[in-house]
């Protein structure tokens, strides 16, 4: 509110010299701010937090999670793993006697857990920036919240008195590993040695039997057991003192007791549950503070992550084709390789194959090799090739992780963050750590995406979905209602020459993301795609959607593909209109600033109109703050955006489970199984609820969300905050079939129409379901005896449309024709702007169910296949003009594919009824390539009951959204 005023303010003290040629869309939502604004956001007495992270070459990747988010993440981790993670506190010099009472509390207490974890996060953050002065962090605010011991440390450091550092080390201990045998006697090290791997020998001077002496003694680490958790964490050093375990102060006297109290992780957590593999080597979590992804982005933990996929054959190599035979060096042709593991060394060993093939295939078939497949230890491995002048890039991946397009595509993002000419990037030794980090991310994303994201712990990750959506040359766009005016922030400023100096950079354009959805863009398509590839590669988009980013500042030089081409071809650039002006080789910089769920990417150009960049310029505070200011201004959009995300999906979606007749029964069973109260109730009412719709409680618990509540409340109920329904039955939120607004609203209308008939609410709520039942029965007549269809369900199907308020009808565009909404999912890609739309994650989450997530995965998998068919067409078109050899007379192959569809059949899983065949549901997945009016690709998934024409659907969709 404070800064709302400022965007009306036009401080055009210096007219933009390029005002004439700058098209107005270009500078939309560039921030406008005055000097006062500047002061507001960059307090002059404090240097920005990220300053210390700027690297030698000027690049910056600074990521800080918001406090609340860190705490939440920690709390979540604590609840997930808390009991199986044991905190062991070591003091380096001297035993830390902590008199604080809270220390004595067990770890499980939630109230204590949070500040502690928060504290940990701070420690971690400080660890990350060792060079940074403690000034901004160690403010007065911290002194109250920070525990005594830490403060003492800091004071000690500053004053320079005796340093007393506490280390907090997280170890993953599994008492189960000790087996069933009784704990080893204390004389032989006891649990301390067996479980923790810490060797402590009682002081020599004292007799072993002296109990008093032992009580006094602290536990000094005299040695470490190989392969023990203590060694693996690499943070416990010989000479350290063990101070506390799980906040229980320990000495030699009580250590065995404390350790023996640690429950086995299998006791705490169900066997096989969650992503922690108990069977494998004990997992070490030195700091389970934030998700693996963030840690990976921070550059921590890469070794461990990489080790966990060490057995999977994968490698990237950059090989020189110019072999210098004089040089005696063994592996001189390898300019770069990552990772170094056993499986990869085997692949490295056969690099001769890759070199020979790339050379030979060109001679034999006249084409460049793009891929090859080989068998390594019975595993099919695909190898992608990319030849560049005298060098060859080779990437090998297991077959199931490899998609042709993906590897080709990986070349593109890496040419952006690295250098335009990759041979420079790969040949310079100082680039190696960055490349390592880059490829570590690359392989992690492909090989174990599930470990990178916390949220999808239970659901299997949709690898096909990631491959498909990431593979689209487009950015996920969120259409906004007209009320939300991102464009309203537009000013033509942002290009002032501040302080009378020549500007450093010209803003070429920027794009704005909210929770990973593109909401505004002023970048040309090619730049947008480049930027989004960067964001994709560094997982910035999911990061912004899953975790609130406290602050994100990224700065690096980039080499947009098409811009370098422009330079090469010397085509006119609308930036310089001066005659005789020679376009210089510009340098481009990418600035990404994220605040909470917003993220803005700005592409800046140096030289040209701006001052030429020399050396490796780092991020300029002014520009960063400028963008930050914009984002702060946009923050009040947050509410509107949340509303938009919570809005009913348009077009409406149906859940696949609704079309299966077994739905009711399954649901009832699951509900009954999950809730003891309900199982009692359901036991009594199950038959009537099925047959007559009279099962009041069950009916309500099933359909209460959509049916029992007035529609005005519906948005609240969608948030899933209510766990209690009025019937007193605890409703497991994940299980109840959320009504899509379409049917929900119909339902409201239906209840009105039924109201006169004297039908009560629960009856009405049952009938929506029956109508769906009825609907599917009409298509699968063999599934359910007809007497189970109540007559009044017909009412629903034949419900006249005028009972739905017209305003709702206009809002809720239905994509499918026919009485029922049969649309399950869609993806529409617009190629000119490089954007695509698909139902939002939240819309998908609303359509819970057991079949539906499967269906979505299947849809994405099929889309991969469909798109490959389209791609081949495009590919052909691309090459048809290239050479006479390539263009044989007439058509060849299947020819260009315009439309491709597959019909799938699904059955409910574990169908136990022997007497009846499992009910089935069939649906189409169709992809359509459109050239008119704008090039689009449309992928849609719908129930096969109604014949749909995909072209029309695509038209309806794009028209409705005014793409």
């Amino acid at each position: 509110v404070v800064y709302r005023r400022t965007h009306d303010f036009q401080p055009s003290s210096l007219p933009s010299p390029y005002g004439s040629c700058s098209d107005e869309t270009r500078y939309d939502f560039q921030p406008s701010f005055t000097h006062s604004m500047l002061c507001r956001f960059t307090p002059s007495d404090l240097e920005p937090e990220w300053l210390d992270d700027v690297q030698k070459n000027g690049e910056l990747f600074y990521l800080e999670l918001s406090e609340g988010e860190e705490a939440a993440a920690l709390a979540q981790v604590a609840t997930n793993y808390g009991l199986s993670t044991n905190h062991v506190r070591f003091s380096e010099k001297e035993a830390e006697i902590i008199s604080d009472e809270s220390r004595k509390l067990p770890d499980g207490a939630p109230t204590k857990a949070e500040p502690k974890l928060k504290r940990l996060a701070r420690i971690l953050r400080r660890k990350r920036r060792p060079s940074q002065s403690r000034g901004p962090d160690g403010g007065g605010e911290d002194s109250s919240s920070r525990p005594v011991s830490i403060l003492k440390n800091q004071a000690g450091q500053r004053v320079g008195v005796m340093v007393q550092q506490l280390k907090e080390v997280f170890l993953y201990l599994n008492p189960k590993r000790l087996g069933s045998c009784s704990p080893p006697p204390p004389e032989r090290g006891g649990l301390l040695e067996a479980l923790l791997g810490v060797v402590h020998r009682p002081s020599w001077g004292r007799g072993q039997g002296d109990p008093a002496g032992r009580r006094e003694e602290r536990i000094t680490v005299h040695g470490l057991v190989p392969n023990s958790p203590a060694v693996k964490c690499a943070q416990i050093l010989i000479g350290d003192n063990l101070v506390a375990v799980d906040d229980v102060d320990v000495t030699t006297e009580n250590i065995e007791r404390v350790l023996s109290c640690i429950p086995g992780p299998t006791q705490v957590r169900g066997p096989g549950e969650g992503g922690v593999d108990m069977s494998s080597a004990p997992r070490l979590r030195p700091s389970p503070s934030v998700s693996q992804l963030v840690r990976l982005l921070w550059g921590e933990d890469t070794v461990e992550l990489q080790m966990s996929i060490g057995h999977i054959p994968h490698i990237v190599m950059y090989l020189s084709l110019k072999l210098d035979s004089d040089s005696p060096l063994e592996e001189q042709e390898i300019l770069y390789q990552y990772p170094v593991s056993e499986a990869s060394s085997q692949l490295k060993g056969v690099r001769g194959i890759f070199l020979t093939l790339s050379d030979m295939l060109e001679n034999v078939t006249g084409g460049q090799i793009v891929s090859s497949s080989l068998l390594l230890n019975k595993q099919l491995v695909h190898v992608g090739y990319w030849k560049e002048s005298n060098n060859l890039l080779v990437i090998a991946l297991p077959a199931e992780r490899y998609r042709h397009g993906k590897v080709i595509q990986c070349m593109l993002p890496y040419s952006i963050p690295c250098l335009s000419q990759s041979h420079i990037a790969f040949c310079q030794a100082d680039h190696a750590p960055r490349l390592d980090h880059f490829f570590c991310l690359f392989f992690q994303q492909l090989i174990q995406p599930s470990r990178l994201s916390d949220s999808s712990g239970s659901t299997p990750t949709d690898l096909s979905g990631t491959l498909f959506l990431d593979g689209l040359p487009a950015v996920r766009w969120l259409p906004l209602p007209p009320e939300i005016k991102v464009w309203g922030w537009a000013t033509t400023l942002g290009h002032e020459d501040f302080y009378g100096m020549r500007r450093l950079y010209v803003t070429l354009g920027s794009c704005l993301f909210y929770k990973g959805y593109l909401i505004a863009n002023h970048l040309p398509k090619e730049d947008l795609l480049d930027v989004s590839l960067y964001c994709q590669h560094y997982c910035l988009l999911p990061l912004a959607s899953e975790q609130r980013v406290g602050q994100l500042v990224v700065w690096r030089e980039v080499f947009p593909r098409h811009r370098s081409q422009i330079h090469q071809t010397k085509t006119i650039n609308n930036h310089c209109t001066m005659p005789g002006y020679c376009q210089p080789q510009g340098r481009y910089f990418l600035l990404i600033v994220g605040l909470r769920h917003f993220m803005q990417c700005v592409l800046l150009e140096a030289s040209g109109c701006a001052a030429p960049a020399t050396g490796a310029p780092g991020p300029d505070c002014v520009y960063v703050d400028q963008v930050k200011a914009t984002l702060l201004q946009l923050e009040e959009l947050d509410l509107g955006m949340e509303e938009r995300l919570a809005a009913p999906p348009a077009p409406c979606l149906s859940c696949a489970d609704w079309f299966l007749p077994s739905f009711v029964r399954d649901r009832l069973d699951t509900l009954a199984a999950s809730s003891p109260v309900l199982s009692k109730l359901a036991g009594g009412v199950k038959p009537p609820s099925l047959d007559q719709g009279g099962g009041k409680v069950v009916g309500r618990s099933l359909f209460g969300r959509g049916a029992r509540r007035p529609s005005s409340k519906r948005s609240q109920s969608d948030s899933g905050s209510e766990g209690q329904s009025d019937g007193g039955v605890r409703r497991p939120t994940g299980l109840s079939p959320h009504s899509t607004p379409d049917s929900a609203r119909k339902l409201v209308g239906q209840r009105d129409s039924l109201g006169s008939g004297g039908s009560d609410g629960s009856r009405g709520s049952g009938s929506i379901f029956k109508s769906i039942l009825f609907y599917s029965i009409s298509h699968y007549s063999n599934c359910i005896p007809s007497h189970s269809i109540p007559p009044h369900s017909l009412l629903f199907c034949s419900m006249p449309s005028h009972s739905i308020p017209i305003s709702l009808c206009s809002v809720l565009a239905r994509l499918t024709s026919g009485a029922e909404n049969t649309l399950f999912h869609y993806v529409l890609m617009e190629k000119v702007q490089g954007i695509f739309i698909a139902p939002t994650h939240r819309e998908l989450a609303q359509l819970s169910g057991s079949i539906h997530p499967q269906l979505i995965r299947n849809f994405h998998h099929c889309c991969l296949s469909i798109r490959a068919a389209f791609q081949r067409t495009l590919h052909r078109g691309l090459f048809s003009g290239a050479g006479s050899i390539w263009r044989p007379q007439g058509t060849h192959g299947l020819g260009p594919v315009k439309e491709h569809g597959v019909l799938f059949q699904c059955k409910p899983e574990n169908w136990t009824d022997q007497r009846k065949p499992a009910p089935t549901m069939t649906y189409w997945v169709i992809g359509r390539m459109l050239l008119e009016p704008v090039p689009q690709e449309f992928y849609v998934c719908f129930h096969d009951s109604v014949a749909e024409v995909p072209v029309e659907m695509a038209f309806r969709l794009s028209f409705g959204l005014a793409l």
């Binding site: 085997q346 060993g349 056969v350 001769g352 194959i353 020979t356 093939l357 030979m360 295939l361 034999v364 078939t365 006249g366 084409g367 460049q368 090799i369 793009v370 891929s371 090859s372 497949s373 080989l374 068998l375 390594l376 230890n377 019975k378 595993q379 099919l380 695909h382 077959a399 490899y402 042709h404 499967q854 269906l855 299947n858 998998h861 991969l864 296949s865 490959a868 068919a869 081949r872 090459f879 050899i885 390539w886 058509t891 060849h892 192959g893 299947l894 020819g895 260009p896 594919v897 439309e899 491709h900 569809g901 597959v902 019909l903 799938f904 059949q905 699904c906 069939t922 749909e948 024409v949």
Partner: protein, 444 residues
């Protein structure tokens, strides 16, 4: 660029251990020896390092496939791209054709020479000479569907069949004839397709049935009225030869019997052929008249079916036909001329490959290890098909020339080509009707 023609396939055969070239077929211009040597060397080098090279592809659709059989013979197929072979999606999925080719060629070599001679490699020079007798068969396989229109067995590994109008009559005749020839394996071929076969014949491995059909076709092309050829069955008896007796009953109609030492060709020809088949001459003529339509006249196909391939998944038999295109003089030629007959065959093959690699994986010889599967190129294909959480039932493609539709039931797979004028949403019902029309009328 050493392969001149677009789409040409060259087949190289070497001894696996020493790399001695055994023969080269395909492509008019042979690859230089140095290239052949390094193609082999690259694979050998990998094998030494514990890596088995399977194949590779270029940006222009050229591809290469390696495979070693019985640790003795290495077969390499090189396609220059720009043609049919690169149909399909991602890497490795689309070389079904080449992988099938290698497998068929190896089986051919076994069929003619027996596994022992190929595996032992005692006398390479003699083997080279002996292999010449396979050339005709191998060339036929290399031509694929282009040589003889409407033969899909090499690709589908399902025997191409012809459904004669008087099937039972012919079946009885064949059964009697086979029995009289002291055999249980007998087969009647019309237009190079199996019109009738004994039960035991169908029990042979699908590849063997297909290969025997290929062999019979090539034998009947030689023009002789009858012949007696030793054959090794690649799976049934790769080391012991049987005799294949073939008799031409009418031009285009052949009967063959797999038998042991007796009867002699002469006796069979003199005593059995006339006795069993002359009463059935009319029936044979009738089946000959079915022609390349492969379906009896009782089956009426919808006018909007350009071509079809119907596979019986259980019996591994297939029927395929392409309609003669009747251009209606009343209609001016539209913007989208219908594809020619040859093109229809090609499209049918391509569409089959497209569909089976993605959606309808063939269930053959299930007890294969992962390694073997990968060698056969099936591994990735099945991986992709396994990636579907739900069962694909139908699929269609709309291209610039026509619409392709396929559907799969528990027993059948049907592949259809229709003109562009057929509405897409009607394709499913067209296919269902066609399927039921054929199965009801013929019991296929």
């Amino acid at each position: 660029m050493m392969l001149q023609q677009a789409g040409s396939v060259q087949l190289l055969c070497l001894t696996a251990n020493s790399g001695v070239p055994l023969f080269t077929r395909g492509a008019s211009k042979q690859l230089p020896f140095s290239i052949i040597g390094s193609l082999n060397g690259v694979h050998m080098f990998g094998a030494g390092q514990g890596v088995v090279l399977a194949g590779c592809e270029t940006d222009r659709g050229g591809r290469m496939v390696w495979r070693v059989f019985q640790d003795s013979v290495m077969l390499i197929a090189v396609s220059s791209g720009g043609q049919a072979q690169q149909e399909g999606g991602g890497a490795g999925e689309e070389d079904l054709h080449l992988r099938r080719l290698l497998e068929n060629v190896w089986n051919c070599m076994v069929l003619v020479l027996g596994q022992d001679e190929l595996a032992s490699l005692r006398n390479v020079e003699r083997l080279k000479r002996d292999l010449r007798s396979c050339y005709r068969l191998i060339d036929q396989l290399l031509e694929g569907g282009q040589g003889q229109e409407g033969i899909m067995g090499d690709l589908t590994h399902c025997a191409d069949c012809l459904l004669p109008p008087n099937a039972t009559l012919l079946q009885e005749g064949l059964d009697g004839f086979t029995q009289a020839a002291d055999s249980e394996f007998g087969c009647l071929m019309v237009h190079g397709r199996i019109a009738a076969a004994t039960e035991k014949w169908w029990r042979l491995a699908p590849q063997e049935v297909v290969l025997l059909s290929v062999l019979t076709r090539s034998l009947s092309l030689s023009g002789s009225a009858s012949c007696d050829t030793p054959v090794f069955l690649p799976q049934g008896s790769p080391t012991v030869a049987h005799r294949l007796l073939r008799f031409q009953l009418l031009p285009g109609v052949d009967v063959c019997v797999l038998c042991g030492p007796s009867p002699t060709l002469h006796r069979a020809e003199r005593e059995l052929v006339g006795c069993f088949w002359s009463p059935l001459l009319e029936a044979l003529r009738g089946s000959l008249a079915v022609g390349e339509r492969c379906l009896p006249g009782s089956v009426t196909l919808r006018p909007d079916v350009l071509a079809l391939l119907l596979i019986n998944r259980e019996s591994r038999r297939s029927v395929s036909c392409v309609k003669a295109i009747i251009t209606n003089p009343n209609h001016p030629p539209s913007n989208h001329p219908l594809p020619s007959k040859a093109r229809c065959w090609e499209l049918l093959r391509l569409f089959y490959t497209f569909t089976t690699t993605r959606y309808f994986p063939l269930e053959e010889t299930p007890a294969l290890t992962l390694g073997e599967k990968a060698q056969r190129g099936d591994s990735l294909r099945e991986d992709f098909a396994l990636g579907f959480s739900h069962q694909p039932l139908q699929c269609y493609l709309v291209t610039e020339e026509c619409k392709c539709f396929s559907l799969q039931t528990a027993q059948h797979q049907l592949y259809l080509l229709t003109p562009l004028s057929v509405p897409t949403f009607a394709l499913s019902s067209v296919a269902t009707q066609t399927l039921s029309a054929i199965t009801l009328a013929t019991g296929f």
